[in-house]
Subunit: 169 residues, 2 copies
């Protein structure tokens, strides 16, 4: 029943290995973009990809689709906009909002990035079966969901050192 959670040696712990793989995916992709002379980061690409799917989103909605916070989105959009890949337009009814639109140049860029990303991913997954990938997705989603559902204060907060169940009395 209980999982064997290897914390040491640290380099073999679950979190460490997950971080390493995800980190390499990101930096490897960035290097691939660079090598292809596409001056864009993986994060910026994800925003362009989101806009390709649905254009004219608010910054908040955009942030939600790519699971970044709104402050980060503001800055990524600053870069994309100054590069001419994206355009912010005021919301017709709500002057607090911007609607974000991808430009022609942004669309072209998005296509090139996606081509490189596809090639990169193929190479990243050499030696894996389709089932491996399915498992990886399933497991990753469960982990992400579990952590999302957590209440750190309740679990690790002051005075809650050990007791997980039976908080009262």
């Amino acid at each position: 029943m209980a999982l064997k959670l290897t914390m040491f040696p640290m380099e073999q712990s679950n979190g460490f290995v997950m971080r390493l793989a995800a980190n390499r995916m990101k930096s490897g992709l960035n290097r691939a973009f660079q090598a292809a002379n596409l001056e864009m980061t993986a994060e910026q690409w994800s925003v362009l990809a989101a806009l390709r799917q649905q254009d004219g989103l608010s910054q908040t909605d955009l942030a939600a689709t790519v699971t970044k916070d709104r402050q980060t989105m503001t800055r990524i959009l600053d870069l994309l906009e100054s590069g001419g890949h994206v355009q912010r337009r005021p919301h017709p009814n709500d002057r607090r909002c911007n609607l974000v639109f991808i430009t022609t140049s942004g669309l072209k860029m998005q296509q090139k990035l996606t081509d490189v990303a596809e090639q990169f991913t193929e190479h990243a997954f050499i030696g894996l079966t389709q089932e491996d990938l399915d498992q990886l997705m399933r497991i990753s989603r469960i982990v992400a969901q579990n952590i999302n559902d957590m209440d750190p204060e309740a679990l690790f907060g002051p005075g809650k050192a050990k007791q997980i169940q039976g908080g009262g009395r």
Copy 2:
């Protein structure tokens, strides 16, 4: 044979899901440390954990164990040292090197952090079987290795737009 690499919708792509899980592991752990009143980040913890395993490493060796670059290690050590958790001492034979030692306070902190991290990880993996975890480790390691072995310039470099095989002629 060929893997089905879902690139769209972007939120369901492999890289996106891996990033989300790893990201939540990191930020969730940071929040857990905060909630437990331990003013330390997951990265700093990994360095303390590495030192718990082997004390007196050079900064370069330490960086290699936790797979960070040396510049990042310099800065993490600055923080750990100013917090009194770690101490840099000159290498006896090589004046370029520092050897890094964990202090008593660092050891205590490390233990507390590890306790919280264990509890956190338990919760993060609710609903997973031991085999799921093993698969996750195996698959993540393959991905990390694949990307490490990649040569971005050769694969995506200028003029290599499409051809993966048969570059020569």
